[in-house]
Symmetry: C2
Subunit: 325 residues, 2 copies
């Protein structure tokens, strides 16, 4: 494996993608204040962040509008209420889950939209449906990425085939390595990133990483992947995200050397919005129960429930999670 | 750089060193309850931890006894009150700072002591004094390690000379790579660990790692160092330690594959002692101010003061820390 770039220089292919509203929305049901969203947008612009993901483009047939905050659906008018025509260098992204997005209805032509990029999220068994969706969005004029979730429970062979298929047949420009369960160690991330890059490069595509912090490895895995050539790096303010959360924006801003990135707007945003959010009782971040599910390579839903119940009987939880019964 | 060992097997040279009382003592002035210390000892024995560090062997001339909890001084009788003759596989360690230990008075012959290992901590400019102290302790019958602190601000050439000197002239059996400021990234840790190992191996010595969590990299740096051959791995329960704290015992226990290590006693200890300690207001762990000093390669004392004052004006702090004035 070859190292790409060095600690004192920077690679122009690197893009920072803020997912605070999207992954953080899974913590608070997408109920962010207007001030929060507006200031986050301003902070991202000022910090030189490349993409800001506003949320999901979820199907209003599958999900009831009244059950969620607006960023679950990302209506064009709601994004425009924050960004106007977005006359900035920051690009705007939304996530669209395979099978949970009415993309033929809700993804309008890029020429009419302020959205720049659609990130399609798929499991490995829905790749053909993902390819249809990717190519539809690409043909509508968007940049498209593909996030393959839960790969730590897929077979290596299945993953190889999925990557080849996506690289060869989809119009996605970026393939994302996603550590859904926060179960992967840096040496595994490097090996996987190397695999993704070798396949993606053959087809002129880039690779991204979306890490989870179950084992306090989200930042480490992100920069290790970056060091060997991964370009798109997902972060959230104070690591806000489902369960153990994500790679912290403030940590990545300290690591990157491109002078266009500035940490001050991030620190100000944290002080003004993330500290009050935590004080108000919104809970995320690495804790023992997430280490346990991460280490066991399991979905964190049991750990999220454990957190919600205010439990601290970690050893009982460990026994439950690792039981074969 | 060669990888030593694999994710599914284990290396018998690996030793886990619990530093909860010693590094955690820097958070609460070594004021641990008897129950805490006794249960920690039992948990370490049950978990298969290799060494438990009880605290410092600090000079009673330099430090007033009434100003600290007893584990600042680790009197023989106080350790024996917990462990008796320590008829277990767990070995007992104390730390002794160069210039702050009356070692000729306070380090008694090993044959009369329940202590197994003395860990000498030195800055790079006190290495000759460290060698005297190391060899004195080794001649008294102890295993001895040497921890060189604050290497991230030393020159590479100075470090090379220090390592050669310690390896050739000291009777220490382990040389510790210490990331005092939590400023080092995994790629730097791997390179440094490789350097330490090459020099140590020539003289039949092992290498250890003591990481800090300023940038949420303590666990990542510990396992990365381990993967390329570092043997002695420092951890603390829930990462308790000065400022941002250390590598979490519970994370490392999940990573190691040696069947002698058991995570359950660790989880029970956390539930019974670390959760109440945090609830009582004892504060440590990664936070924005520690990321900032770690990223700036500075001692965390300013961040500790910032924490103590309950401040959250991170951007002001960043400006202060990075100012050249």
């Amino acid at each position: 494996m070859e190292q790409k770039g060095e600690l004192v220089s920077f690679r122009p292919d690197i893009k920072v993608v803020d997912c605070t509203l999207r992954d953080g929305g899974l913590v608070n049901n997408f109920e962010f204040s207007e001030d929060f969203v507006r200031d986050l947008y301003k902070a991202n612009v000022a910090a030189g962040v490349d993409y800001m993901e506003f949320g999901y483009k979820a199907s209003k047939e599958v999900f009831k509008v009244e059950d969620y905050g607006k960023w679950k659906f990302c209506d064009e008018k709601d994004i425009r209420a924050i960004v106007g025509d977005n006359d900035t260098d920051l690009k705007i992204s939304v996530m669209a889950d395979v099978g949970r997005t009415d993309y033929k209805k809700d993804i309008i032509p890029k020429s009419e939209s302020v959205i720049d990029m659609v990130r399609v999220a798929t499991y490995i068994n829905t790749i053909p449906a993902a390819i249809e969706m990717i190519n539809y969005c690409a043909d509508m004029g968007y940049e498209v990425t593909i996030n393959i979730m839960a790969i730590s429970t897929a077979s290596e062979n299945e993953l190889d085939l999925a990557l080849e298929l996506l690289a060869a047949q989809s119009k996605a420009s970026v393939i994302y390595l996603v550590d859904s369960y926060g179960s992967l160690y840096p040496e595994q991330i490097r090996r996987l990133a190397d695999k993704y890059i070798r396949i993606a490069e053959k087809y002129g595509k880039r690779v991204g990483i979306h890490a989870h912090n179950n084992q306090q490895l989200a930042f480490a895995n992100t920069i290790e992947a970056c060091t060997i050539g991964v370009s798109y790096l997902d972060v959230t303010m104070s690591g806000m995200g489902r369960g153990a959360g994500n790679c912290y924006t403030e940590l990545l801003m300290g690591f990157l050397r491109n002078p266009k990135y500035r940490i001050s707007p991030v620190l100000k945003f944290i002080e003004n919005h993330m500290v009050p959010l935590k004080k108000a009782g919104v809970v995320w971040g690495c804790d023992v129960q997430y280490m346990i599910t991460g280490n066991a390579n399991q979905h964190p839903r049991t750990a999220i429930a454990f957190t919600g119940e205010g439990r601290t009987d970690y050893d009982n939880f460990y026994t439950q999670i690792t039981s074969y019964e």
